[in-house]
Amino acid sequence: MAVHWRTLLTALPLLLSLGTAQAATLHVDNEGEPGSLDPQKSANHWDSRIQKAMFDRLVDTAADGRLIPGLASRWDVSDDGTVYTFHLRDARWSDDTPITAEDAVFSLRRLLMPATANHNANLYYAIHNARAVNRGERAPEALGVKALDAHTLEITLDHPSGYFLQAMAMGEAAPLPRHVLSTTKRWIVPGNTVVSGAFTLGEWHPQSQLTLEKNPAFYAADTVALDRVVMYPLEDTNDAIRRFRNDQIDLSFAQVPSSRIDWVRAQRPDALRTAPWAGEYFYMFNVRDGALADARVRKALNLVVRREIITDKVLGTGMRPSHRFVPEAMSGADGVTMPGLDAPYAERVEKARALMREAGYGPDTPLTLTLRYNTDDDHKKVAVAVAAMWKPLGVTVELYNSEGAVHYAAIKQGQFDIARYGMVATVNDPIDLVGSYAAGGSAAAASGYQNARLDALIEKSAHTANAADRRRVLGQAEQTLLDDYAVLPIFEYVSNHLVSPRVQGFEDNVMDEHPLRFLSLAPPSTPSHSGE
C-alpha cells in the first residue's frame, strides 16, 4: 500500500531527476555549504572534498588514504630530504590547455601570498622563504619553488618535513589554471571554471545543491565511474538521516551524532561505516595560575575521569577511550601513555583524593572550576559526565557553553580554566597535534603551557630526516606533555558515516578521505528502491 502511494505521489520529481540520470549519479550529503571552491580560500573539510574533485594535485590520495601519484607521475627526494623534484605527466586542463610546472609554481606562490590569506599556509612553511613570503617580508618570487621545464618542478625546503608530501596532496597545493585566473576575476563560478581533476563544476545553487560532472579531459577519466555527483549542504544531521532513509541521498559525510547512533545501529547496520579518525577530543587546562598551575591537581582531575563510561554509556558512538594525546590510529610512536591511568579505578580515586589534599584542597577548601564547551549536545553530555566524575574530589564545576566563535576566541585569549577542544589532524603526523603545545604553538599560547624539553624535542624532530627516528622523538615530546598532565585526553575520534551498500569504493581510513573519483554506484539491488 505504502509503495503504491509513494509511487503515485513521488513519481514525478523522481522521474525528472532519473530521466537525465540513467548515467551513474551519486547523491551526497556534504555537511555544509562550501565557503569557497577556490582551494586556497577556505579551510572547511567539506569544501576540500569538492575542491579536490575539481583540482588534482601533484600528489593524489587513493581511496584508502594512501598517497599516490597525481598530476606528477613520480617524484624524487634528495638524500637530506630538502629538495623535491616532481615530474608532471602530460595532462590537460578541461579547456584543453596543457598543465605545466609553471601552473604549480603560480599556485604555490599564490598560496603563500598574504593577500590570499590561506588558513593552512603554515603547513608549507618548510619551503624556503615561505614564512617570509606569507608575512609579506619577501616577494612571492623568492619562494623556493622553481619550474625547471614545462614538466619538472623543483621545491627546496629549509629543513626536512615529515608531512611535506601530505601537504602537497592537500587542495591548497593544487596547480591552478593560471591562464584563467589572470584574465577572470570570478574564475570559480559555473561556466568560468577550468579544472584539472575528475569532475567539473556543474550547477551550483547555494544552500541547496551543487552538481559535479565528470571531466572527460581528466587524465584518468576512463577510471572514473560516476558521471555526476550531487552534493547537498545539509546542516541538520537529522535531515541527512531522513533523506538517507528516503533514498534521496546515498552517502552522508556528516558524523552520525550520539543521539541517532542507537537507531542507526538497530535499523541500518548495513549502512553504518565506523572507522578510527585522526582526531583527539580533550580538555585543555589553563596552567597559567590558580589550582590548575599545580600538576597534582591536573593529575587528580585526570585520574578520576572514566573515559570508557563516556565513550560507551554517554555517547556510544564508538569513540575510543584515550590515555594519550596522539590517537593510536595516527602514525605516532608506540607505548606513549599518561601515567597512572591503568590502575584500578578505586585506586585512582584514592590517589586523586590524596593529591588534592596535598595540593591543599578538600571538603573545607573546595575547588571551583569553570568548564567551557562549545554548543553541541554531545559536548554537553561529556561535560556533564566529567563534572559528575569530579564531584567526589570536592571539585565544583561551573559549566559554561557558548557558540563556536565565542568559545574559541576565549580559548585564544586564555580566558578559561578548562576548555573542551577537538583537534582533528590536517595531516597524518603527530606534530600536527603535539606541535601545538610547543613554544609558538596555538595550544601553548592558549593554555600558557611551557616546557623547554618539549620545545627542544619538537625542534629536534624538524631536523630529523629518518622517519622512524623522527616518530620516536615526537613520541618523547608527547610523553613529556602527558607526564605534565597538561591536558585531559578523553577519547579518540571515529568517523561515523551513513553509506548505502550500493556505494562502492568507499574505504575506511584514518584521515577520513574519500575521493569521489574512486567511488562507484552498484545498480539498485532491491526493486523497492524509491521510485524506480
Binding site: R260, V384, L399, E403
Partner: protein, 313 residues
C-alpha cells in the same frame, strides 16, 4: 492624522470607548474600578475553558516548584546504572532518564521553573518599560510623542531575532539578565497599546477635570492613565508569557538556551527532538508539560480579553 507604522485599533478609533452603556469603562473613582474588576471576574467565571486553564496553571506552577523536593533525585544527579532508560516504576525514574543518567521528571519540573520564571521576568520588564513609555508618549503628545514613536518605529525595523542572538552572546551566562534584556526589546507592542489607550483617555472628562484641578502631569499619568489601561495590559501579559516561553524554546533550538546544570522546557525538548525514535520519553514528557501550559495560558488570555474588554460583551 499621522500614523505610526502599525496602527493600533484604539488609535484610529475616533470614539474609542463607548460613552454610556450598562458597563461604563474604568472611571476616575475607585468604586467603578472595583466594580469593573468584579464584573470582569464574573464574566471570566462563565468561561469554562479559561477557568479550567486557571486551575491547571496554578497546579502546574505548584508541581514545578514543589515537586522536585518530593522526588529522590537531584537536578544534576547522575544515576550511573541507568543511562537513557525508559520510564520505569522499578528504578524510580517514572519518566525515564536522559543520556547522562539524569531523571527526566526532575529535570522537567526544574525546567518548568526556569521557563515560567524567565517568561515572567521578560514580560514584567517589557510591561514596565512599555507602560511607562506609552503612557508618557500618549499623555505628553505633540513633538515628544512623535519623536518617541519614531524611536519605536526604528526599533521595530531592527530584526528582533538578531538583537536577541546578540544579547545572548553578550550576556552569555546569566539567564535572568538575558530575559530581562529580551523584555527590554519586547516592550514595543506594549508601548503602542498603552499610547493608544492614553490618547483616547486623555480627551475624556475626568482627565480634563483632574487637569483643571491643577493635578500635575506625572500624577495624572500615574494615578489615572496607567490604572485605566489595566485591561489591555493584563491581556497583553497573558499573550506575552506564552510568546516568551516559545521564544525560549526557539533559542534553545539554536543552542542559545540556559546553561547546564540548569535546564528549561525548551532545552529539554530541543534535546529530546533528536531522540524521538530511540528515546521518545525524552521528547514527550517535557513537550506535554509545555503544551499544557501554553494551551492554558492562551485560553486564559482569550478569556481575560473577553472579560476585560468592555466592547466584547
Amino acid at each position: 492624522m499621522t500614523s505610526t507604522t502599525t496602527p493600533y485599533r484604539g488609535e484610529h478609533d475616533d470614539t474609542p470607548l463607548p460613552a454610556g452603556g450598562p458597563n461604563p469603562p474604568a472611571g476616575p473613582d475607585k468604586n467603578t474600578g472595583e466594580s469593573l474588576g468584579r464584573e470582569a471576574w464574573r464574566r471570566l467565571k462563565q468561561n469554562k475553558a479559561a477557568m479550567a486553564s486557571l486551575v491547571i496553571l496554578t497546579l502546574m506552577a505548584l508541581i514545578c516548584f514543589i515537586g522536585p523536593h518530593l522526588l529522590p533525585w537531584a537536578l544534576d544527579e547522575v544515576d550511573w546504572s541507568n543511562f537513557q532508560t525508559a520510564p520505569s516504576l522499578e528504578n524510580g525514574h517514572y519518566f525515564g532518564t536522559d543520556a547522562n543518567g539524569r531523571d527526566i521528571l526532575v529535570r522537567t519540573l526544574f525546567g518548568g521553573q526556569v521557563s515560567l520564571s524567565v517568561a515572567l521576568v521578560a514580560t514584567f520588564v517589557s510591561l514596565v518599560i512599555g507602560v511607562l513609555y506609552g503612557a508618557v508618549a500618549g499623555y505628553v503628545g505633540g513633538r515628544t510623542d512623535n519623536l518617541m514613536m519614531r524611536f519605536v518605529d526604528i526599533m521595530y525595523s531592527l530584526p528582533f531575532m538578531f538583537l536577541v542572538i546578540l544579547l545572548m552572546v553578550v550576556f552569555g551566562r546569566n539567564i535572568f539578565l538575558i530575559y530581562a534584556a529580551i523584555g527590554a526589546v519586547e516592550w514595543l507592542d506594549m508601548a503602542r497599546i498603552v499610547r493608544g489607550q492614553t490618547l483616547a483617555l486623555k480627551r475624556r472628562e475626568f482627565i480634563e477635570a483632574a487637569h483643571a484641578l491643577g493635578v500635575g502631569g506625572p500624577t495624572i499619568v500615574r494615578r489615572h492613565l496607567i490604572p485605566n489601561t489595566l485591561g489591555p495590559v493584563i491581556i497583553y501579559v497573558t499573550l506575552t508569557v506564552p510568546k516568551v516561553i516559545l521564544l525560549e524554546s526557539f533559542l534553545s533550538f539554536l543552542g542559545l538556551g540556559v546553561q547546564e546544570p540548569l535546564t528549561s522546557w525548551g532545552v529539554l525538548i530541543s534535546e529530546g527532538k533528536d531522540m524521538m525514535e530511540s528515546a521518545p520519553w525524552m521528547l514527550i514528557v517535557p513537550s506535554v508539560f509545555l503544551a499544557v501550559t501554553l494551551f492554558c495560558l492562551n485560553f486564559l488570555g482569550d478569556g481575560l480579553r473577553d472579560a476585560l474588554d468592555p466592547k466584547t460583551r
